[in-house]
């Protein structure tokens, strides 16, 4: 008969503990893990799809007018994020990526914000030929004249 589980007891005695040595040994996360967001502003086209699909409204956009064009700043608040990856899935230009970084510990909430800004140029203005300009002017004059006529015919005026 002998002692029950004696083999198990001896193997357990010499096996490694199941505790992970976390702070000493950094842990690798599995593939497909959704961690801290990475934004590539050079790829973004400012379509605003990510803001639409974001359930916790963690994405904000500010638009500044500059000489070169509109300066667009996208701000992703990781403190408010649910890491659902919808923004990355809906991004047609793949400018949003979810990295494998999982440790987001801060004392100041602003450190959790991921920002990226880029300049979007306005389309160049069309150069009109003199004939086209004359045509436009004539059309405008005709419209104004019509308006004036209507104004004159109004009995209360």
């Amino acid at each position: 008969m002998g002692l029950p589980f004696i083999k198990e007891a001896i193997t357990q005695l010499f096996s490694k503990p199941s505790t992970e040595k976390y702070p000493l040994v950094k842990k690798e996360v599995s593939d497909g893990f959704r961690g801290k967001l990475v934004f590539h502003p050079e790829l973004c086209i400012n379509c605003g799809m990510c803001m639409r699909v974001c359930a916790p409204q963690a994405i904000t956009r500010t638009i500044e007018k500059t000489e070169e064009g509109d300066r667009i700043t996208m701000e992703f608040h990781m403190g408010s994020c649910t890491f659902c990856s919808m923004c990355a899935d809906f991004c047609s230009k793949n400018s949003i990526e979810l990295s494998k970084e999982y440790s987001m510990v801060v004392t100041n909430e602003d450190d959790l914000k991921v920002r990226g800004s880029f300049i979007k140029k306005a389309p160049p203005k069309k150069e009109l030929s003199p004939e086209q300009l004359a045509k436009l002017k004539a059309a405008k004059a005709a419209k104004d004249g019509k308006a004036e006529e209507e104004f004159d015919s109004c009995p209360d005026a």
Binding site: S18, K27, A58, T82, F83, T107, E109
Partner: protein, 146 residues
């Protein structure tokens, strides 16, 4: 002399009190897994207590709901100073998907000063360990200032 011994030993073993203010249970489960043998935060001295009166670190999870608001305020009033408040997950501070809800009483910052916030929905147990380590450090500094 005794005071010094007590201070040193208290710095090495901060006790945690966990309060759920309307969380979905995800963060609560992850926090419990931190004290299981796999992650074992107890090797660093963290211990979960049952009463706020023994706590040094208060871990809050969940957006503060109308039902839990009064309990939160009452519990925090019982925690002795110096204390460190950790907001666990995305919920307590910016309220996550619950922001603007009729039953959510805004961010946790309204009721107390939050020292550490751990982001993630839910945060990985490793991230929680990092957060608690930072909280212990802050607690040490607060004790020294006192």
């Amino acid at each position: 002399m005794f005071k010094k011994i007590i201070d040193n030993s208290m710095a090495k073993s901060p006790w945690i009190y966990h309060i759920n203010t309307g969380s979905c249970n995800g963060c609560d489960i992850e926090l419990v897994s931190v004290i299981t043998p796999r992650y074992d935060a107890e090797r660093m001295g963290f211990k979960l207590t049952g009463t706020p009166r023994h706590a040094d670190i208060v871990v809050v999870s969940g957006p503060v709901t109308s039902q839990s608001k009064e309990r939160l305020v009452r519990t925090l009033a019982q925690v002795p100073e110096p204390r460190v408040i950790v907001s666990l997950g995305s919920c307590p501070r910016p309220c996550n998907v619950f922001k603007g809800s009729y039953s959510v009483e805004g961010p946790l910052d309204k009721f107390c000063e939050v020292d550490v916030s751990v982001a993630g929905c839910t945060p990985k147990p490793e991230a929680i360990i990092d957060g608690l380590a930072l909280a212990a450090q802050i607690l040490k500094e607060k004790r020294r200032q006192k």
